[in-house]
Amino acid sequence: MIRVQEEDFDVGAEIAALVRGNHEIGGVVTFVGLVREVTGGAPIAAITLEHYPGMTERGLAKIEAEAHQRWPLSASLIVHRCGRLEPGERIVLVITASAHRRAAFEACEFLVDWLKTKAPFWKLEETGEGGRWVEARHADAAAAERWTKG
């Protein structure tokens, strides 16, 4: 399941709702991304995530479907926030549930690597010097490349 929203999310409630009633699930891996205060240069006061409603959800649904093809997942959820977020705030939630913990770990990391580099968002960083649109990062792209089929 996929959601893009301005509101915060409740990690415990999302996990509970996702696995409820499924007693085959043995492991649930969750990634919560937080807004960092320092990402290289000056401390940031806030970021603003802009996206393309409709296209974003299609992109997220597609990568989620790919994860289900590659790993035996029982359930998954991606929630990505948009709008203005300050350091320490939750920005993204990825949950993968499987009978087998290795599948849940790998699928979760695969989704997070993709989201961090290829999720259709544009990020504006606010610092004391004003706002700056972030450019695509090469290190993150390399992390996502790990998952490319040979």
């Binding site: 996206h51 990505h80 920005i91 961090k116 290829k118 544009w122």
Partner: protein, 83 residues
């Protein structure tokens, strides 16, 4: 035809979206962009370096040779930076 602009393309052009009616001879994305650049100002500045511009037509990523027609939703935006 609806055109959407995101991120710094939006701020340079000064609009998030607009309805346009390009002349009939505009048949593909490249032609549309050239026509927009012809407006000068923020358009010319935002669309100066096309290596920094990505395009979607009806929410599918496309290249400059992809056809455009009345009723399409065309989006122009920088490479995504991830979440």
């Amino acid at each position: 035809m609806k055109i959407l602009y995101f991120a710094w393309l939006r701020t340079k052009i000064g609009a998030g979206s607009e309805e346009v009616t390009p002349p009939a001879e505009i048949e593909d994305v490249g032609g549309l962009i050239d026509w927009l650049k012809g407006r000068g100002g923020g358009y010319a500045e935002a669309l100066d370096d096309l290596s920094l511009v990505r395009v979607a037509v009806n929410q599918e990523h496309v290249g400059l040779d992809h056809p455009v027609k009345a009723g399409d939703e065309v989006a122009l935006f920088p490479p995504v930076t991830g979440g």
